[in-house]
């Protein structure tokens, strides 16, 4: 491990590729908040440089500066040895810097060809020269060795293919530096492999890649250099050969981090939640997302559901909560069939869901922190016709304390909270209804390691007090934290079941994922 202070940082590094883009002493402040403090950062020609860091460490800000969305408050960017000012995204494009955002910026109602040339259509004498655009699009796809017809609509493509189209668009403007923000977050294992193959091809062609991912293991398989940010400061830099997973985590959080162990010392009770032959049809119309699934969870037990994207975890959980209808099977809560109950009735009965996507399904952005927290308990503070302010305040303060939300107070805007605290609000909102069974879909998604540990600690505590907890995750590490049992789902069924003393490799193998070493 090395902490570089100057631009000679990669000096003793084994691969001697030259630096194409460098940030020197770059700082960025928003009012009193210092998002970046004197960061030095190199992008190596024809290699992958990965940025690691928790939420709020400054990754997004650094990326926005590199891609021309924001100007740095201080410091400079050096492109091919000469200082440059990247004042806009158009300027960045002209300099050969392209960014692929986590949320793809494609028009789903248009074809691959139209998207690649969006905003810079090739004009002929009678309007857009579609034939030429199509020819070039075809050539690009051939170069990427991807079998995508340029005349396909984007909405008909799988997410992984859409990403390839984004890459093709970047290449079509001769981008030399490609910034990829969480490119694999929504891809299946096989799509990730395709993406990684494309990245290797791009490297071979001299394209430099800045890669950002929360999925540490995956990023390690593709990266050549690792840069770790913490609280706006670059804390560590090293070439791939010298580092491992533990090194990254240590530098990200600054200490050895433990995301918990299964709560012990209490007795597991009766069966709290039982699924019998649960079947949920897939949203696409063909086949079943959940296919005759049996599962039972005891009072005080913590069960982790692991599986790849599309394994049916979300569908199973949404069906348990009452959002999706089942076409077969039963959901039993403490022996009572709740299959016919509405979401509100299930909450009243003590069965709650913490959804995966907190922006889309968890928070009401137009309401305050307090009102978000009390949203699921409105009935509890309504006396006769009217709501009771004092009762509501008690409920809100209760949940702020319980899940330790860091906020200016109940009246703060929900958007003013960090990702981790927003997630705690979503969890707190459901916990304050005093459920006996809580189902959490990816409770750790998009939050930093510190917040993650806290979330798991809260869940473990509740399990100890007699709550049944079921959570899903896509990170193997989190399977081996607080769960008594680990269930691996694959294509809507249970592929395997493990206890806490299993290994990561066994879990991943059961899910159909391969560890690329």
């Amino acid at each position: 491990m090395r902490t570089p202070e100057t631009d000679e940082s990669p000096q003793a590094e084994p691969d001697t590729a030259e630096v194409v883009l460098a940030a020197r002493n770059v700082s960025k402040s928003f009012g009193a908040v210092h998002a970046l403090k004197g960061v030095n950062f190199d992008v190596h020609r024809g290699q992958v440089t990965t940025l690691f860091g928790e939420n709020g460490a400054g990754k997004s800000t650094l990326m926005k500066i590199l891609s021309g969305v924001q100007l740095p408050s201080d410091g400079e960017l050096i492109l091919d040895g000469a200082p440059v000012e990247i004042a806009s995204t158009v300027a960045a494009r002209d300099l050969g810097i392209a960014i692929i955002h986590q949320e793809l910026s494609l028009a789903p109602n248009m074809t691959v060809r139209d998207n690649i040339f969006l905003g810079r259509e090739i004009m002929g004498p009678t309007g857009v020269n579609y034939a030429e655009e199509e020819r070039q699009a075809r050539a690009l796809m051939r170069e990427l060795e991807e079998d995508i017809d340029p005349l396909t609509l984007i909405e008909d493509l799988r997410l992984g293919q859409q990403q390839i189209v984004e890459i093709a668009r970047a290449l079509s403007v001769n981008s030399r530096i490609l910034i990829m923000d969480e490119p694999t977050s929504a891809l299946s294992a096989s799509e990730v492999e395709v993406l990684f193959k494309v990245i290797r091809d791009l490297k071979a062609r001299g394209v430099s890649i800045v890669y950002i991912s929360h999925h540490l293991e995956e990023a390690l398989t593709i990266t050549d250099h690792a840069v770790v940010l913490r609280d706006g400061v670059m804390t560590a830099y090293a070439p791939r050969a010298e580092i491992d997973l533990e090194w990254i985590v240590r530098n990200m959080v600054g200490e050895n981090f433990d995301i918990g162990s299964p709560p012990s010392g209490h007795k597991l009770g009766e069966t709290a939640l039982e699924l019998k032959g649960l079947t949920v049809p897939a949203a696409t119309g063909t086949g079943n997302a959940v296919d005759g699934l049996d599962l039972s969870v005891k009072v005080g037990e913590v069960v982790c559901i692991y599986g790849l994207m599309g394994a049916g975890r979300t569908e199973m959980m949404e069906c348990v909560a009452g959002r999706l209808p089942a076409t077969g099977g039963e959901v039993l809560l403490h022996g009572q069939d709740v299959s016919h109950l509405s979401i509100a009735q299930r909450i009243a009965a003590g069965l709650v869901l913490v959804p995966e996507d907190r922006q889309r399904d968890g928070l009401v952005q137009t309401m305050t922190v307090g009102r978000n927290l009390s949203l699921a308990s409105i009935g509890k503070f309504t006396r006769g016709l009217f709501t009771n302010r004092r009762d509501e305040k008690a409920i809100i303060e209760d949940s702020i304390r319980e899940v330790t939300v860091k906020t200016d107070g109940p009246d703060a805007a929900i958007g003013s909270l960090s990702g981790g605290n927003q997630q705690k609000v979503v969890i707190g909102k459901m916990l304050v209804t005093h459920p006996s069974v809580v189902v959490l879909d990816e409770p750790s998604r998009g939050i930093d390691v510190g917040a993650k540990a806290e979330v798991f600690r809260i869940l473990a505590e509740h399990a100890k007090n007699g709550m049944a907890v079921v959570y899903s995750t896509s990170e193997v590490d989190e399977c081996l934290s607080i769960a008594h049992r680990i269930i691996v789902m694959r294509r809507g069924r249970i592929a395997a079941e493990f206890t806490h003393d299993t290994t990561k490799e066994a879990i991943m193998a059961a899910s159909g994922e391969s560890l690329v070493a």
Binding site: T366, L375, I378
Partner: protein, 347 residues
């Protein structure tokens, strides 16, 4: 707090106290109303008198009532284009009942008392609104289209019922026991026109419902993020049906007040009122994306638009110019909304 990934907020460091621009932006409808009153008072000696304010308020009452219903629908993230037509239909329906209902099989003509006319008319408004709500909530018809449909249907039915003519005699007959319809439009309680009192009562009730009841909380949350509200146990579909029904009820009440004020009920009454009403709600600071808006703001919005157009009449500006001014005010208001909610209302 050094979280920069929080792009949804998109307003770094905006917390530093209420500065003057923010204050002006927050209370813009109020300041606009003050400015309008001062300007017209200077231009015309007749403007700033108690009697004129009461007359103007009586005009505002119609739009104010419609705007209460519209506010509920807009808070839900919807829109109700049918209010003007429902207003017209309600007036015609009330007029129709006042003329007597002939039951042919029995060979008699029924003259319902005024209270029954009011109840039946309000029920009609509720039914039309409920149709809108069911179409939007259960049949997934976009609110714009569903209520555009009922705009045409309600207007068409009103025209059919009268053959395009107007019911002129709504006074009733003492011999038939159905007098008193003009009470709503002409009487005053302690000098205040009944229409204004109806609006005040409606506003107080709506305000209480929004701020103090579970239904109010359901409405704000389902308008802000329906998916999150649903997963928190809010009956979002029932809320949706309820707001359109209530909007129909408010439109029917407005129709009763208007036809009582005019002592006649024409099938063209309330033509394009839906647009003025939407304008009032938007000028009052509500977001068309749903989830943001208040009764106070909406009332101010209705008064801004009403006092502006009446003021222009009083100082003798051509009615064509009134249209131009109203349009400019609406665009200005929406522009300020975008500035206030900029980047936050993103879904």
């Amino acid at each position: 707090m050094s979280d920069t990934t929080n792009a949804a907020a998109g307003k770094p460091g905006k917390k530093g106290g209420m500065n003057i621009i923010q204050l002006l932006l927050e209370g813009r409808a109020f300041f606009a109303l003050i400015a309008i009153i001062i300007t017209f008072s200077l231009l015309s000696p007749n403007y700033a008198s108690v009697s004129n304010f009461l007359i103007m308020s009586n005009h505002v009452a119609i739009f104010g009532l419609l705007a209460m219903g519209m506010l509920l629908v807009i808070l839900n993230g919807g829109i109700d284009l049918s209010v003007g037509s429902v207003l017209g239909l309600s007036g015609v329906f009330a007029g129709f009942l006042m003329q007597g209902v002939e039951i042919q099989s029995a060979g008699i003509i029924l003259y319902p008392p005024v209270w029954a006319v009011v109840v039946l008319t309000v029920a009609l408004g509720a039914v039309v609104g409920m149709c809108n709500g069911v179409l939007v909530a259960y049949f997934k018809v976009p609110a714009f289209v569903a209520t555009l449909g009922s705009l045409y249907v309600a207007r068409g039915v009103a025209l059919l019922m009268t053959d395009g003519l107007t019911f002129n005699n709504l006074s009733g007959d003492p011999g038939l026991g159905n007098t008193g319809f003009e009470w709503l439009g002409f009487n005053r309680i302690a000098g205040v026109p009944v229409g204004v009192i109806v609006l005040a009562v409606a506003a107080v009730i709506t305000g209480l419902v929004l701020s103090r009841t579970a239904f109010g909380r359901w409405l704000y949350s389902s308008g802000g993020n329906a998916r999150a509200a649903e997963l928190s146990g809010v009956p979002v579909k029932h809320v949706q049906v309820a707001v359109y029904s209530l909007s129909g009820v408010f439109a029917a009440i407005a129709g009763l007040v208007l036809s009582s004020q005019l002592t006649s009920a024409g099938p063209q009454a309330g033509f394009t009122y839906e647009l003025t009403t939407i304008a009032a709600v938007v000028v009052g600071g509500a977001s068309l994306m749903g989830g943001r808006g208040t009764v106070t703001g909406t009332l101010l919005g209705a008064f801004v638009i009403g006092f502006l157009s009446d003021g222009l009449v009083i100082i003798g500006v051509s009615s064509y110019w009134q249209t131009v001014f109203t349009g400019a005010v609406i665009v200005l208001a929406v522009m300020l909304n975008s500035i206030q909610y900029g980047g936050v209302g993103k879904k």
